[in-house]
Symmetry: C2
């Protein structure tokens, strides 16, 4: 199959393509990303390719979702490499707007989602999910997708976007896709590139502690005890600094005290190695 991917940098040009696709009755899928693509992103494209006639990937490092002391400026970028990967994976339209195209004037409209943003990254990154909800809505208005594909690594992001599309009756189905891991278990992330070799080695504690937690759940260990053991495992790493370790009801992300058979829970971690903040999670039944 010969594919020619088109790169588009303006909203106006994207609208022309979308209008034509709509006229032809094509189903449209979007894979929203911040670029510096890895196999996790490509698994989203694969899922989109299977479900949709037209696959749009956006690459946009969205300033709204970064806090003042976060890594917006130094977030890794490599558009040449991204373009090759997107093309190989089967993206039809690669949307790469500049910040000045997305926000030509300071944006005055803000979208916020309550409840599901109270814990986890919503707590430790104030304003982050407002920025996510706002840019995702804007991308949805531009691309008008039938399906949108998000990685479960950002489980809270999936919860926020799902809640928002439900509340606002957006004509799009959110498709969460499984976490993709390196061979040794580290969850794939564009931010992994920041890690020194020593940090990279210690960072394995995230996926390893989640794996252990799954066993402990099977053995009937209490939730609070599991949380304590994960904290101990991570704290044993000299370069690691815990942001949070939480066990919450899933998908509503509310605190869970007691084990109730059949309920879904998420074990979610955020850990800093130097300036680099990594997240990982496990969703399972108890």
């Amino acid at each position: 199959m010969i594919q020619t991917m088109q790169q588009i940098s303006t909203i106006a040009e994207m609208r022309v393509h979308i209008k034509e696709a709509r006229r032809l009755g094509k189903t449209i899928g979007i894979v929203p990303t911040m670029g510096f693509l890895h196999q996790g992103h490509l698994s989203l494209v694969k899922a989109a390719r299977e479900k949709c006639d037209l696959v749009v990937m956006s690459i946009f490092v969205n300033p709204l979702q970064f806090g003042p002391n976060e890594d917006f400026e130094r977030y890794p970028r490599d558009i040449e490499h991204d373009r090759q990967m997107a093309q190989s994976a089967g993206v039809d339209l690669l949307f790469t707007p500049e910040v000045s195209e997305m926000y030509p004037k300071p944006i005055l409209t803000n979208i916020s989602v309550s409840n599901v943003t109270e814990q986890l990254c919503g707590k430790s990154r104030p304003g982050h999910f407002d920025g996510v909800a706002t840019v995702v809505t804007k991308l949805f208005q531009i691309v008008q997708p039938d399906y949108a594909f998000f990685g479960q690594k950002d489980a809270q992001q999936v919860a926020v976007v799902t809640q928002m599309t439900y509340d606002l009756s957006m004509p799009v189905q959110i498709v969460p896709c499984p976490i993709v891991r390196e061979e040794d278990g580290l969850a794939m992330s564009s931010r992994n590139v920041y890690l020194t070799p020593e940090q990279r080695k210690e960072a394995l504690v995230l996926s390893q502690s989640l794996k252990q937690a799954k066993s402990w759940l099977g053995e009937g260990v209490a939730l609070s005890e599991i949380r304590g053991r994960i904290i101990d495992m991570i704290a044993a790493m000299p370069l690691a600094s815990i942001d949070y370790v939480e066990l919450l009801r899933y998908p509503d992300l509310t605190p869970i005290e007691q084990r109730t058979p059949g309920e879904s829970i998420i074990i979610a971690l955020a850990v800093r190695f130097g300036h680099t903040r990594l997240i990982d999670n496990l969703i399972t039944n108890i």
Copy 2:
């Protein structure tokens, strides 16, 4: 021309109609209302009829945009009469969802627009424009209109919705339509029905003071002096209680101190008669 209007009360059924209209390449217009229709609403339908193949009117008294001490419960409703008026005016689809259809669970998503909401009704009705922005977005997601028609009587609402669609790149054009007045000058409003005969008579001071203000502007009277004179005119009415009288730059609704030739201004009034709050405005060049 024989028209058969269809009344639709569920989002799912509306989607079926919209999908079909889209398939046929029809342009879609929406006239969002809270019902209890008058000639002002019908002028919006007329504008929509001229521009669009499919005209959707929504009738939904949106609880989100009412404050705790406002008139949500007693807001006037007469769906039978509305249906006849909408049909005669040429509405194709009349969308009349219950609150339980629009908000089956408490809505967790909120949309707010800053700056343009700081003055006027945004100041005196906290949360009002969040409710407007949120429900309008939801209606836009359901109806997917190319054009949306709003009355200029709610000039700040027009400003909020215009700003929001711009910020979020919504694929819809906002069409503001002129204020429609009773023969004696009172701006048409569903809330006029609340007025006692005495209040109704005094309420003419709103349109009359705006008319006077236009003359004063022509005569070169200073803006602050004009504001004072309007306040004096309204204060002379025993049953009237002023909520605000403001002269602002238009459409950004920022304070204006000096007259600058060529600038647009809005003179906006909100006045209470008993429990009834009326608004009116004049937009003009200075």
